[in-house]
Symmetry: C2
Subunit: 213 residues, 2 copies
């Protein structure tokens, strides 16, 4: 057994679970699949996490931790202009979602199909916290008469929707844009650049108070 596995077998199981949940969905990935690919005994998963559902819960709690802190910092930052903040938000989320596309895939699938109220609540609370911070940034820009009277919630839905769409429907968009030959990593690299340009440009036009009808 390699050193890294030995040191943190729990983390290793989590990362394999992330892979398989993203590939096949929560119900589509069996505990046996996870145990086998992680090279651990089947019973170890119950031993470490208690149950399959608790495993998902542990994964979510582990991965969703640090984002909120960054957003809080950004929201209460006084030196950056609202436009700067928007740019930073866009860059941060593109980076985050592209680097954690597997986890993002799990999140978007889980909370619209999970039977467990507990997990649903967990996810919603995490997302609520983050959305509230972003809301502050936009509302602040509106108060300062820099941003126009846009629908704040739906503007956020557009940003996250765009990212989700590009990540979750990679097979579709890579074919539509004729970059299908390349592997998934290159797809995400290319898309990061295009997404930054597109979202910044769109938000600039959409939010700008000068474009208000």
């Amino acid at each position: 057994m390699s050193l890294t596995e030995k040191v943190d077998k729990r983390a290793h199981i989590l990362s394999i679970a992330e892979e398989l949940f993203a590939e096949n969905g929560f119900d589509g990935a069996s505990v046996r699949d996870i145990a086998q690919r992680a090279n651990v005994n089947l019973a170890m998963i119950s031993y470490y996490f208690g149950s399959k559902e608790k495993l998902l819960e542990a994964l979510i709690e582990d991965r969703a931790g640090y984002t909120t802190g960054i957003l809080v910092e950004l929201a209460k930052n006084q030196t950056l202009t609202p436009w700067d903040k928007i740019d930073r938000l866009v860059e941060f989320y593109i980076e985050k979602i592209m680097n954690n596309y597997r986890f993002h895939c799990i999140m978007s699938q889980t909370y619209c199909q999970t039977r467990s109220t507990e997990i649903k609540e967990l996810i919603i609370n995490i997302k609520m916290r983050n959305l509230e911070e972003i809301k502050k940034v936009i509302s602040d820009g509106q108060k300062k008469k820099i941003f126009g009277k846009v629908d704040v919630e739906l503007t956020m839905a557009s940003v996250f929707g765009t990212l989700t769409q590009v990540v979750n429907s990679a097979a579709l968009y890579s074919r539509l844009m004729k970059i299908e030959e390349s592997d998934d990593a290159t797809y995400r690299k290319k898309m990061s650049t295009r997404l930054k340009t597109h979202l910044k440009q769109m938000l600039r036009a959409h939010l700008d108070i000068k474009n208000e009808e």
Copy 2:
């Protein structure tokens, strides 16, 4: 047994399957669940469709039929301006997705987690066909110097992403907007109106050649 069930039992099974696939996902909904809620014998599903996977395939083929026709008509229409076409597209898709939110939920989940290449291809082909038509509308507006130099594919991703986000994360956004007390139907009704305003406004600012930097 009621008349409507008798007349088209196959369609009835499809509609129940749509419900349960949307609620629990493909793997989360068992053939027994579907049979029970549809009030048919378990074996009837194999009898009519062959297998669970074929059932999903039949559902997709049944539901995804008529959209392409409408888009083709709109794309080649010569009397409408590009702006009119955008408005019609927005209205059409909001209506469509809100009325078929269950099916839309199945589609967005299936093709990023299904092991079956066949179904994946089926979905991608349907979506590709439709996206190609919409692409024509935007490209046409660009050629006529009405729309600016936007990223066409990502603009579409933003529109569909927004809709998907609002439908699939209903629990999140209804809480964020504090309309949680009302039922799902009222949520979708309220959101239809807001979405129309938001998407039209955003696309107007984003596409307008005058707002080009």
